[in-house]
Amino acid sequence: MRIDFSAKKRLYSGGHQFSLDIEFSSEEDITVIFGPSGAGKSLVLKMIAGLEKPDQGSVKIDSSVMFDSAQRIDMASRERNVGYLFQDYALFPHLTVEENINFSSRRALLTRPRKDEARLRELLEVFHLEELAKKYPAQLSGGQRQRVGLARSLMLRPSILLLDEPFAALDPLLRMRMREELKKTQRLFSIPVLIITHDPQDVAELAQRLILMDDGIVKDIVTLIGAPYRDLEGKPIRPKIRELLLRATGALDE
């Protein structure tokens, strides 16, 4: 899998101007975009999903062109088939766990939904949700909600999984466990994952390719091949990441 992304966009709100101008590509299993809040990370994710439109640029996943301003291609969100985990998961509060996961199998009012019973069972099992299938989101814990969100976004076998600050809403202990679960999920479904985060710990534990973003631009791109904890020479990667992150946030000026 390969993702190529480039976008320019200017936004105005209340006399304030923000401009985004970024370009990156990745072929790794887990790509992390790291940056402080307000860097424009969410905007990038929304542009990949087709929820925001760049003024200029292109979005490509493998050979499929989802957006290209030069060729006037702009696929609708519903046709892009990307998995998207929202920051607070955005589970439909009026539907049960099972109905949430199955949401994408119905496309029109009058035709019968194309139910993929086997896929539903598989997802309920993988994410330990069998017992909770008939419950509503308000009755679940934070970790359970996140698993429902993941299951829902994987139902359609998307070409990429986009995660928006996936662990920010969880308490620290649970965060550690969910990171492990995410790695397992990534391997199990062999789906490329793109995470945006402002938590350095996510970078340290998950990133195989790291994109540092600040104020609408890419500051640095690093590939951390193989095990995410080692660099090319097999040295622990943490000190290097630490330095990069500090520099990106302006705490360490050369």
Partner: protein
């Protein structure tokens, strides 16, 4: 019974228009949106007689709408129960409109985005996400507008008059009964109206209470 027919029909029309305009106001950005909002809310603050006068001018035989209806379909609305329906609809409209708009605006855009990413067309997003999350607010507004339509007096009197059995609604009948000193009839009608309104208000309060605890 006439009152119920008038109020019911008026609720039906004001709900359809109220929900449509509310959806437009809640979801689209366009020039003059707040002016539209003010005009749509006008019937709440205008004296019913002024409203009735507007309607009379518009719908009367010499008015632009009334004249056209008269010529093309030979329909007269003034002093008919259909005229009373129009008066009651206009008066009740802002209640549905306001509460529907609030209900639509309270549905977070992230649920709609989530549905889009999950392969849903805009129509399906509305039917499967927006409407189910907003319908309690809409229903509460519809019930309030029913209560309002039931009690409508001023505009109805101006447009439809008070023809017993034809356009004389409950609230107008109360007025007539008191005027002619018919206390027994007045008391009876007042009690009925009060009970119906209390029931409707209780029901609408029930529906306005949020069902889903926000995450």
């Amino acid at each position: 019974m006439l009152s119920l027919k008038v109020a019911g029909t008026a609720t039906f029309f004001s709900t359809i228009f109220g929900v449509s305009v509310a959806l437009l106001a809640a979801r689209k950005k366009f020039w003059g949106k707040e002016i539209l909002d003010a005009v749509m809310t006008l019937p709440v603050v205008l004296p019913p007689t002024v409203l009735g006068y507007y309607l009379l001018v518009l719908l009367g035989r010499n008015g632009p709408i009334g004249g056209w209806l008269q010529e093309t379909f030979s329909i007269t609305l003034i002093f008919t129960w259909q005229g009373a329906v129009i008066a009651a609809s206009v008066v009740a409209f802002p209640l549905v409109y306001k509460s529907s708009r609030a209900a639509f605006e309270s549905v977070s855009g992230k649920f709609e985005d989530a549905a889009r990413v999950l392969g849903q067309s805009e129509f399906m997003v509305f039917v499967r996400v927006t409407l189910p999350l907003a319908w309690r607010g809409i229903l509460a507004g519809a019930m309030l507008s029913f209560a309002r339509a039931l009690g409508e007096f001023g505009a109805t009197l101006m447009v439809a008059g008070s023809l017993p059995g034809k356009t004389q609604t409950l609230s107008i009948a109360v007025y007539e009964a008191v005027q002619s000193g018919d206390d027994y009839v007045a008391n009876f009608l007042v009690i009925i109206t009060s009970i119906v309104c209390v029931v409707v208000l209780l029901a609408s309060n029930y529906f306005l209470r949020p069902k889903y605890v926000s995450e």
